[in-house]
């Protein structure tokens, strides 16, 4: 039998099926990552980029980033932002997913559809929409609260350093929450109904069923959401750009905003910008490893 008529071995077949994906990932992901690493240890401004000649400067860019007080402020804000958004998303995702999982409630179907809408909105558009909502004198949010008698003076949501980071976190959660809801909802549907029936027969109330059946069965998906959402929240950018541009003061300077400003605003220090982005990537990687080691493996074993 000629070789091309023979059935391919499963391992070879799997390899060839993975080649296109590997190629794509290599081109669009690995290359920029490696190139950014290269830039981060060279002196790279506009003139150097144009000429294609990058003088090597070792760890100097990393040193400059780590010496910059603004980088540490941005990092602190990023950590706070990530903690707020990821924890809120997980709690809300579980609650909402439980709600829309109630097939007996007819509105659940409608909610399931509507819940996806924010996810379809481009991040920058989402930021602009919320910037209008937050407007101090003319914003919809203050208007509602005022009409409802909840406030007597307008609140400067995005312009007050005490509330600005939360003001950015809310639109971010609003946009990304559907992703988490979908995952939790899918996981909920995989829990055998018999478990609940048996528990009911044994006299378990709703809270006990949630505590001893649902939550343990969701731990794996929660761990995945934790890893993914942490990585994405660390790199938040669009809402910052549209709503606060880092202000007021440095209240919403986050790590990705820092990298952007260093790189793309004159004097266009691409080397230092790459170094700051790399530090951020390494931190995300380290956190992901911690999650994998201490949470994901534990819940999947």
């Amino acid at each position: 039998m000629p070789w091309f008529r023979r059935e391919m071995r499963a391992s070879h077949f799997a390899f060839f099926m993975n080649v296109p994906t590997l190629l794509c990932l290599g081109l669009v992901l690995a290359y920029p990552v490696v190139y950014a690493a290269y830039l981060s240890v060279h002196r790279v401004g506009l003139a150097q980029l144009r000429r294609g000649e990058f003088p090597f400067n070792g760890w100097e860019n990393y040193g400059r980033v780590l010496e910059d007080p603004l980088f540490w402020v941005a990092l602190k804000n990023t950590l706070v932002f990530t903690a707020i958004t990821v924890s809120s998303e997980i709690v809300l995702a579980v609650l909402i997913a439980l709600l829309i999982n109630q097939t007996s409630v007819w509105t659940s179907r409608l909610t399931r559809f509507l819940i996806l809408l924010p996810y379809a909105i481009p991040p920058i558009a989402n930021g602009l929409i919320w910037a209008f909502l937050y407007s101090f004198q003319f914003g919809f949010l203050n208007r509602i609260l005022f009409t409802a008698g909840l406030i007597s003076d307008p609140v400067n949501w995005a312009g007050n350093p005490n509330t600005a980071l939360y003001a950015v976190a809310v639109p971010y959660i609003w946009r990304t929450l559907p992703f988490a809801i979908i995952l939790v909802h899918a996981a909920l549907q995989g829990i055998p109904r018999e478990l609940y029936e048996q528990a009911s027969i044994d006299g378990a109330n709703a809270w006990h069923r949630f505590r001893h059946i649902t939550l343990p069965m969701l731990r794996q998906i929660i761990a995945i959401i934790l890893i993914l959402r942490t990585a994405f929240a660390f790199a938040v950018f669009e809402e910052i750009l549209a709503i606060t541009q880092g202000g007021p003061g440095d209240a919403t300077w986050v790590a990705a905003w820092y990298s952007y400003k260093i790189t793309f605003a004159p004097p266009n220090n691409f080397g230092m910008g790459s170094a700051s982005a790399y530090i951020l990537a390494l931190m995300i990687g380290a956190i992901a490893l911690v999650y994998m080691r201490f949470i994901y493996r534990r819940v999947t074993l």
């Binding site: 401004g45 003139a47 603004l70 004198q137 007050n160 880092g246 793309f264 004097p267 266009n268």
Partner: protein, 454 residues
């Protein structure tokens, strides 16, 4: 029209009289800011050939569509435009440049320009046909931006001066017969407006993050009081007791933690958005800012209080600041001769010898010109009239100095990252997180940090 030109054209006496008569008639209607000089270098066809040209600019109405169309009609060369927002422009331009793309013409704010020049983006214009004529017509502000280390590096886009605005009806309601002429009066008026319930936030500052928004407001008020930020030798002037520091203390006191007369929106608004917000009629004064905000605040299509917003000079001797934005010939051009031709359409003369773009910007958008001849023409005198008191504006214009006089660091590549810190620290000060003294001390320390980022 000069004798040389007449001899060159070999026109008959009758045709000269006809031409001059026609030009004078058009000039009287405001169509010509100065006599058009067809037949100058701007009307000559370059010897080389080019298929297309491009420019990279920030958005402003439809001016670029119109001028591109005119260029295509006049020269038969297609022009591609890459247009982004003002704040995104440096990133757009620099990434295109870094990626090796062809860029014939671009533009710059005065703050980015020294940096672009140092990075090799900008081609000098000296020696190009007609360049010397433009330079001879440059206004003082334009020279300080467009000429760098003795070389001419750009042609003017527009110039602007910092002025105050006030809402006439609100002043009348307060029974105050004239706007403030001292800073003490300014505070008095604002406190009264708040106390009488006429305005909850009597003053709207332009204190949004930017290169010349929040910083410009501080620069202007400091300069007006006789201070500066960096002297000509580059030494900072932010130490204890400095005018800049005292001005910041006074300014911060108008916000929530002090007199609480400043609109909290101040910390977000930019040039146009502040003019639009002021048009809502909720504030008495709008802090010193680009003069052309009147074009928005007094436009019935955009402002419910159109016609009621007046211009006001600054207290004391009326000193204020000004700046000029420029177009430049990019070193990544595809054909220098043609790129120069395109540059002139944006920042100089069109084929017919007119400053077409500068005149339409003055008439349509109230922008000041970088050319003396346009500033002295009806394009400004008549063109600005629908929006503001032109004699007052021109008087303020004469009292204005280029922003670089108040803050010489604008010529330094580290000015950009230092301004980032300035925006942060001053907003922290205005929101009561730090004092003006801490703010200025941090900014002094920040000079070294900014230099490290270059």
């Amino acid at each position: 029209m000069t004798d040389d030109l007449i001899r060159k054209w070999d026109l008959s006496r009758r045709r000269v009289i006809e031409a001059m008569g026609g030009a004078a008639a058009l000039g009287a209607m405001g169509a010509l800011p100065a006599f058009a000089q067809a037949g100058g270098p701007w009307s000559q066809v370059p010897k080389s050939k080019v298929d297309r040209l491009n420019f990279v600019v920030w958005t402003y109405g439809d001016i670029y569509t119109r001028i591109s169309k005119q260029f295509e009609t006049d020269w038969g060369v297609k022009v591609d435009a890459t247009i982004s927002s003002f704040n995104d422009h440096p990133a757009k331009l620099t990434t295109m440049y870094a990626a090796g793309e062809k860029i014939d013409v671009s533009q710059s704010s005065p703050f980015s320009f020294p940096n672009f020049i140092e990075q090799g983006l900008v081609e000098p214009l000296d020696g190009l046909p007609g360049a010397a004529d433009y330079v001879a017509d440059f206004s003082g502000f334009t020279k300080q931006v467009a000429q760098f280390k003795g070389k001419t590096m750009g042609l003017p886009y527009f110039s602007a001066i910092w002025v105050w605005n006030y809402y006439v009806d609100m002043l009348e309601k307060l029974k105050i017969d004239k706007p403030f002429s001292t800073y003490e009066e300014f505070i008095e008026h604002c406190v009264k407006a708040k106390k009488d319930g006429v305005s909850r936030y009597p003053v709207l500052w332009v204190a949004g993050v930017g290169l010349e928004q929040l910083p410009g407001t501080w620069y202007q008020m400091t300069w007006n009081r006789g201070g500066m930020f960096f002297d000509k030798q580059g030494n900072h002037m932010l130490g204890a007791g400095s005018v800049a520091r005292e001005t910041l203390k006074w300014w911060a006191n108008t916000f929530e933690k002090g007199l609480d007369i400043a609109d909290p929106e101040s910390l977000k608004v930019q040039f146009t958005s502040s003019a639009k917000a002021f048009g809502a009629g909720k504030n008495l004064y709008r802090g010193p800012n680009h003069h052309y905000g009147l074009n928005v605040a007094n436009d019935p299509a955009q402002s419910p209080i159109a016609g009621k917003v007046k211009v006001l000079g600054s207290p004391g001797d009326g000193k204020t600041i000004a700046d000029a934005h420029v177009y430049f010939l990019c070193s990544a051009n595809r054909n220098k001769e043609w790129a120069w031709k395109l540059l002139q359409y944006l920042g100089g003369k069109t084929k017919d010898g007119n400053y077409t773009q500068a005149v339409s910007l003055a008439k349509d958008a109230m922008l000041g010109s970088g050319y003396n001849s346009v500033m002295n023409s009806d394009a400004v005198k008549l063109g600005w009239a629908p929006w503001g008191d032109v004699p007052t504006l021109l008087k303020i214009w004469d009292q204005a100095s280029y922003i670089g006089e108040a803050c010489s660091s604008v010529y330094q590549p580290w000015h950009f990252p230092w301004t980032d810190q300035l925006n942060i620290e001053v907003q922290k000060c205005l929101t009561g997180q730090i004092t003006a003294d801490q703010c200025c001390d941090n900014l002094i320390k920040g000079i070294a940090d900014a230099k490290r980022k270059v």
